[in-house]
């Protein structure tokens, strides 16, 4: 296990101490932070390791949310519903990935974007099952006080984040991670040396979808009400990319830091400039891309860190 991976786990462990200090508002932010970190880590499997610009995060987030929502309305307990979301997203994404990841570059980007539209429209039109545009109410889980409810969902989301981080670290040190790296660098060449790239890409896409799906399920149980335009919001697809670009593409520690920084910025902008918050977000994205294309990790802090540890930063 490399030093950055240890740092990642330490960072996540520090987040777990939040309920000791925080009120319900801090817990809400913490839950969002964990959710964003799950998005960023998951996206990183396909976007960072394998180098495919996926915009499908929102599709699986929404699918997971609706799966859990529908199952819970049928009386299935939360844990089983979440498991259902996770498995459905894993299998569906792996199957779709085997087909869609044949496309490269722009074509893959467009296809994954369209996936969000297709899922949203399907959910919109299946009114009997999902409530369509009216949305779906989800029964309360604990029914206890606000603070204990917030604490419960914070720890649930945190646990999911920990699981995601462990899986991502396992992927990055395994043969799968090595194979995905090869695919990013030169897919044709990795095919030539006998790497089953279709299988690898399908697994990567499945893994990148399943935790997002489970996070969607938790989100649904947490907010008790979902509707298609909320959970299939294309912003959920773009945010992880911005986080990853912010933190440093490809590095799990980088993208998690990116997710936390992004949430901080978003919250500040949201609180102070509610009417123009998406415009300010747009300005931030542009500034980031123009002036900091390799993420926060490429900043001076990165150089200092490299100087301290005496190692060269991994170039992605």
């Amino acid at each position: 296990m490399t030093r950055t991976n240890v740092a990642l786990l330490v960072l996540i462990a520090c987040v777990a101490a939040l309920p000791l200090f925080g009120d319900a508002y801090a817990l809400r932010l913490g839950t969002m932070a964990c959710m964003y970190a799950i998005f960023a880590l998951s996206w990183n499997i396909v976007g960072g390791f394998a180098g495919y610009p996926s915009f499908a995060t929102a599709a699986f987030f929404g699918l997971g949310a609706y799966t859990t929502g529908i199952l819970m309305n049928k009386g299935v307990p939360l844990t089983l519903s979440l498991l259902g979301s996770l498995i459905l997203c894993l299998l569906l994404a792996a199957a779709l990935g085997a087909v869609l990841l044949r496309l490269r570059g722009h074509y893959f980007a467009i296809a994954s974007l369209s996936l969000v539209e297709v899922f949203r429209e399907l959910v919109n039109n299946a009114t009997d099952l999902t409530g369509g545009g009216m949305g779906l109410n989800i029964p309360l889980v604990s029914g206890s006080s606000v603070l204990s409810d917030a604490t419960f969902f914070f720890y649930a989301m945190w646990g999911l984040l920990l699981l995601t981080a462990l899986v991502v670290i396992a992927v990055s040190v395994s043969k799968l991670g090595f194979g995905l790296n090869c695919i990013r660098q030169n897919e044709t060449a990795s095919n030539m040396v006998g790497l089953n790239s279709t299988l690898y890409k399908a697994i990567a896409f499945g893994l990148s979808a399943c935790f997002v799906g489970a996070a969607g399920g938790l989100y649904a149980a947490w907010v008790h009400y979902i509707d298609p335009s909320d959970v299939f919001d294309i912003l959920y697809s773009v945010k992880p990319i911005v986080m990853a670009l912010m933190g440093g593409l490809g590095s799990p520690l980088g993208v998690v830091c990116g997710a936390f920084v992004y949430l901080g910025l978003e919250e500040v902008v949201w609180r102070n400039y509610i009417q123009i918050h998406s415009g300010v977000l747009g300005v931030l994205i542009i500034l980031l891309l123009l002036f900091l294309p390799h993420g926060l990790i490429s900043l001076h802090v990165g150089k200092i860190w490299r100087g301290l540890t005496g190692r060269k930063a991994k170039h992605v």
């Binding site: 980007a109 297709v118 300005v283």
Partner: protein
């Protein structure tokens, strides 16, 4: 008779879809950038027509004459000042950049125009013509004719003018174009400006037919995606073929499955086309 009506509707709507998509297709083909701000350009063009008609009393045909140069300059500057800096970066960066621009423009429109739906209502109304049992509204017919004229103008520009040939040359082989003395950066800016101008004009035409709101921009963008992929990238004839095919699929889908499923159908078609025939109906293989 229903079948003929559906067919006529599809032809009329298809030309408009082609007009929506053609600027997007030009930018994608020449610059290799997926221009997510395209939908907001269209809506801005629609507001221009609406404002010109309601406050200045200018008919939408004059609004076209204002929109084209104004959007060209806007797009040219945007490309010169911002996009040219990251044009060589991978798709992720250029796409996210145009997404950021779209957030700004869309938010600005919501701020100034509010998210209410508005409608440009011509006074007196133009009515509709019916031949046998087939009914076509006149304003829609005029919009379609204008869309076709715009498309034909672009075709002429790309075919006949020096700058047009340079755009095509950059699209075919960027490096060879540089060697032939083409200033690629300025051609990029011209192409992006043309794309913006076409989007603005398409917006003016849309204002005649559809309600106007900043929230509709993503629907226009979605149409542009589908038309480009169906028809094939970068070619004028491809956009026309894609537009008419999309309108046909939506029309037939609405009649037989219900209008709610038309959008789903079009996106499913998009994914199938991407997987089976990514070069589109009229595109040539290895040309993308």
């Amino acid at each position: 008779m229903l079948a003929i009506q559906v067919l006529i509707n599809a032809l009329v709507l298809g030309c408009l879809y082609a007009c929506i998509a053609i600027g997007f297709s030009l930018v994608w083909g020449v610059l290799n950038v997926i221009n997510l701000i395209h939908g907001s350009f269209i809506v801005l063009g629609a507001y221009l027509a609406w404002g010109a008609y309601n406050s200045l009393g200018l008919s939408p045909w004059y609004a076209l004459l204002i929109a084209a140069p104004a959007f060209f300059v806007f797009g040219y500057l945007l490309q010169r000042l911002l996009l040219n800096r990251v044009i060589t970066a991978p798709v992720l960066v250029t796409l996210t950049l145009t997404f950021g621009l779209d957030l700004i423009l869309n938010n600005a429109m919501i701020y100034y125009f509010k998210a209410d739906y508005r409608k440009l209502i011509l006074n007196p109304p133009t009515g509709s013509i019916s031949i046998f049992d087939v009914v076509v509204p006149v304003d829609r017919l005029i919009a379609t004719a204008s869309a076709l004229a715009l498309t034909f103008l672009l075709y002429l520009l790309l075919r006949r003018s020096k700058v047009g040939r340079a755009i095509v040359a950059v699209r075919l082989d960027r490096d060879a174009a540089v060697l032939m003395g083409v200033n690629v950066k300025s051609i990029y800016a011209v192409a992006f400006g043309l794309g913006a101008a076409l989007a603005g004009c398409a917006g003016v035409l849309m204002a005649l037919i559809f309600p106007i709101s900043p929230l509709t921009s993503s629907a226009y963008l979605g149409k542009a995606f589908v038309v480009c992929v169906l028809g094939g990238l970068g070619s004028v004839s491809g956009a026309l073929a894609g537009g008419i095919l999309l309108a046909l699929v939506e029309g037939v889908g609405s009649v037989y499955l219900g209008p709610a499923h038309a959008v789903t159908l079009s996106f499913v078609l998009l994914i199938i086309f991407l997987v089976v025939r990514p070069q589109g109906l009229l595109g040539r293989k290895g040309f993308e």
